[in-house]
C-alpha cells in the first residue's frame, strides 16, 4: 500500500458518503408503500375468459413447462372447456401462452402476492382463473388493455 494521493482519495470517498447521508433514502417501505407495476406486468397468474375460449389448447402447446391442462367436450360444432388447470407453482410467467392465444381469451394477471402455505393451493382451476375485481388482466401482448392501466412508477423520475 502506498499513499499515492496522500490520503486524498480516502477523503474524497468520505465526502461522497457524507453527501449520500444527506439525501433522501431510496427505499420503498413495501407493505405500506406500493409502487405501481408495469402496464405489461406478468404476474404469477393468468386471467382467462371462458366465453372467448374455444378450447384449442394452443396455450397448452406453447407452454415450455407443459403446465396448462385442458380437457374439452364436443357440443355440436363447438368445444366446451371442461377443465382448465394451471399449476402456478411451476409457471415461470414467461407469457408465451398469452402471446399464442389466437382468440384473446388468455391474459397475464396483475397480481404478485401469490405465496401460499399449501402446494395444492397454487394449482388454479377454471373458477380461480376467471377475471374478478381483484384479478385484473394485464396489458401484456394486448396494447389496447395496457392503455387503460395506470402508469408505472419509475425510479428515474424520483427526486
Amino acid at each position: 500500500m502506498k499513499f499515492e494521493h496522500y490520503g486524498l482519495g480516502l477523503a474524497k470517498g468520505l465526502v461522497v458518503t457524507l453527501k449520500h447521508a444527506l439525501r433522501r433514502p431510496m427505499t420503498t417501505q413495501y407493505p405500506e408503500e406500493k409502487l405501481v407495476v408495469s402496464r405489461r406486468f406478468r404476474g404469477y397468474e393468468l386471467v382467462w375468459y371462458e366465453d372467448k375460449c374455444t378450447g384449442c389448447a394452443t396455450c397448452a402447446k406453447s407452454c415450455p413447462q407443459g403446465n396448462i391442462e385442458i380437457v374439452t367436450v364436443q357440443q355440436g360444432d363447438l368445444y366446451k372447456v371442461q377443465k382448465f388447470e394451471l399449476d402456478t407453482g411451476r409457471c415461470m410467467a414467461c407469457g408465451l401462452c398469452v402471446e399464442a392465444c389466437p382468440y384473446q381469451a388468455l391474459y397475464m394477471g396483475m397480481g404478485y402476492e401469490r405465496a401460499r402455505y399449501r402446494r395444492r393451493e397454487v394449482v388454479l382451476t377454471k373458477e380461480d382463473l376467471k377475471p374478478s375485481p381483484e384479478r385484473q388482466p394485464s396489458g401484456y401482448a394486448y396494447p389496447e388493455v395496457a392503455e387503460k392501466l395506470p402508469e408505472q412508477t419509475l425510479l428515474v423520475y424520483r427526486k
Binding site: 482519495g9 480516502l10 474524497k12 465526502v15 461522497v16 405489461r40 415450455p64 408505472q152
Partner: protein
C-alpha cells in the same frame, strides 16, 4: 531451524458469502498464502442444454433467461441471433435498434453489479453496492416496462421483439442516459482513488495477455489484459457497425484494470445508447415468424459480446421444431479456467477479490 508446517485445506464455498452463488474453491493454504486452488462447479447444474432439446425454438428463450441472470437480455439476444442465422430470418430495423438499446442497458446493469460486488468483496460494507443498486433498479424499471418482469425478461423473439416499446420508454431512458455519467463520476470518486482499494487491487491477480488468450478468456477480463477484442467491433453483429464507441483496455491486467475497464465500458455503453436513441427508426418491431419454427437442417454458431464475455450459441437443427443440439458457450465458465494462475501466491483475502473481478454468474457456469 525450520519449523515444520503443513498446508491447510479449506473448502471455500459453496456456502460462502462471496463466491457469487454456489461456486466452490478447494484452497490449499500455507498460512494465509494460497498454494493450490481447484475450482469446483456444478452445484447449480440444471441441464439447460438437454432441456433445450425437448422444447421448441421459441420455448428455449425463457430458458436462456436463466443462464446469466444478471444479463438475461443479452442471453435472449445471443440465442435469437443464432436461430435467426439458422433459419435465415430477417429482423426489422427497429427491432435491431431496440435490441441494441436493451442490450446496452443490460451491460450497464451487469457491470454495475460486477463493480458493486467487487467493492463488497473488498469489504466496503455494502456501500458501493447499494449505490449501484439504485441505478440498476432504474434499469430494471425499464425492463419491467417493456416486458413485464424484472429478472426473467423473455423479451426477445425470433425475428424481433415480443412487443414494441411503450411510448413512455424513450423519455425515461433519455433521462437516465443524461443522468448516468454523473452517477458514474460519483462511483469513481468513491472508489477509483481510494488508497485502500488501490492497495488491494493494483498489481493483484495479474493475468498476462498470452495466458488470457490461450485460456479462452473473453470480455472485460481479456480487455483488461490489454487485448483489444470486443465482438461489437471485431465481429459486429446486429447493427453495431453503425455506432461510434471505443474499446477500453487495461495495461497491467490486474484487478484494478478490470475494475476500470468495466467503469469505462459503462461510459461507452452510454455513448452507444445516446446514438441508438437518436437513430431509432419507426416501423415494425417483429417480423412474421411461424409459431412452430422449423429451420432447415444445418448448424449455426452465433456469438455476441455479453457483459461477461463472448456468449455463443451453437445450434444444430435436424429440421424439426426443436433444436437437435443447443450448445451454450458460456463466458463465465471459460473465464474461470485461468483462475488458478491468478490466485496462486496471493492471500486468502485476495482470493475473493480476484475471483470477484472475473465476474462470473453461477447460472451461466453450471447451466
Amino acid at each position: 531451524m525450520v519449523l515444520k508446517s503443513e498446508p491447510m485445506l479449506i473448502s471455500m464455498g459453496p456456502h460462502h458469502p462471496s463466491t457469487h452463488g454456489v461456486f466452490r474453491m478447494r484452497l490449499v493454504l500455507d498460512g494465509e498464502v494460497i498454494v493450490d486452488v481447484e475450482p469446483m462447479v456444478g452445484y447449480l447444474h440444471r441441464g439447460i442444454e438437454k432441456l433445450a432439446e425437448t422444447r421448441t425454438y421459441t420455448q428455449v428463450i425463457p430458458l436462456t433467461d436463466r443462464l446469466d441472470y444478471l444479463g438475461s437480455m443479452t442471453n435472449n439476444w445471443a440465442y435469437v441471433i443464432a436461430v435467426e442465422k439458422l433459419a435465415s430470418i430477417k429482423v426489422p430495423e427497429r427491432a435491431e435498434y431496440l435490441r441494441v438499446i436493451i442490450g446496452e442497458l443490460m451491460r450497464i446493469s451487469s457491470h454495475l453489479m460486477a463493480t458493486g460486488f467487487l467493492g463488497n468483496e473488498l469489504g466496503c460494507t455494502f456501500t458501493p453496492l447499494l449505490y449501484m443498486f439504485r441505478e440498476r433498479e432504474k434499469i430494471m424499471d425499464f425492463f419491467e416496462m417493456v416486458c413485464g418482469q424484472r429478472l426473467t425478461y423473455n423479451y426477445m423473439r425470433i425475428g424481433g421483439m415480443s412487443q414494441d416499446i411503450p411510448e413512455e420508454f424513450l423519455p425515461a431512458v433519455k433521462k437516465f442516459v443524461a443522468e448516468m455519467p454523473h452517477y458514474i463520476d460519483e462511483y469513481e470518486q468513491l472508489l477509483s482513488e481510494n488508497e485502500i482499494l488501490l492497495a488491494r487491487t493494483k498489481g493483484v491477480g495479474i493475468l498476462p495477455r498470452n495466458l488470457a488468450i490461450s485460456s479462452s478468456v473473453t470480455g472485460p477480463v481479456l480487455r483488461a489484459s490489454g487485448v483489444q477484442w470486443d465482438l461489437r467491433k471485431s465481429d459486429p453483429y446486429s447493427i453495431y457497425d453503425r455506432f461510434e464507441f471505443d474499446i477500453p483496455t487495461g495495461t497491467v491486467s490486474d484487478v484494478y484494470d478490470r475494475y476500470l475497464v468495466r467503469i469505462q465500458e459503462m461510459r461507452q455503453s452510454i455513448r452507444i445508447l445516446e446514438q441508438a436513441i437518436k437513430q431509432l427508426p419507426a416501423g415494425e418491431a417483429r417480423s412474421k415468424v411461424p409459431l412452430l419454427l422449423r429451420p432447415p437442417v444445418g448448424e449455426a454458431y452465433a456469438h455476441i459480446e455479453s457483459p461477461k464475455g463472448e456468449l455463443g450459441f451453437y445450434l444444430v437443427s435436424d429440421g424439426s421444431i426443436a433444436p437437435y443440439r443447443c450448445r451454450i458457450r458460456a463466458p463465465s465458465f471459460t473465464n474461470i479456467t485461468a483462475l488458478k494462475d491468478m490466485l496462486v501466491g496471493w492471500k486468502i483475502a485476495d482470493a475473493v477479490v480476484i475471483f470477484g473481478s472475473i465476474d462470473i454468474v453461477l447460472g451461466e457456469v453450471d447451466r
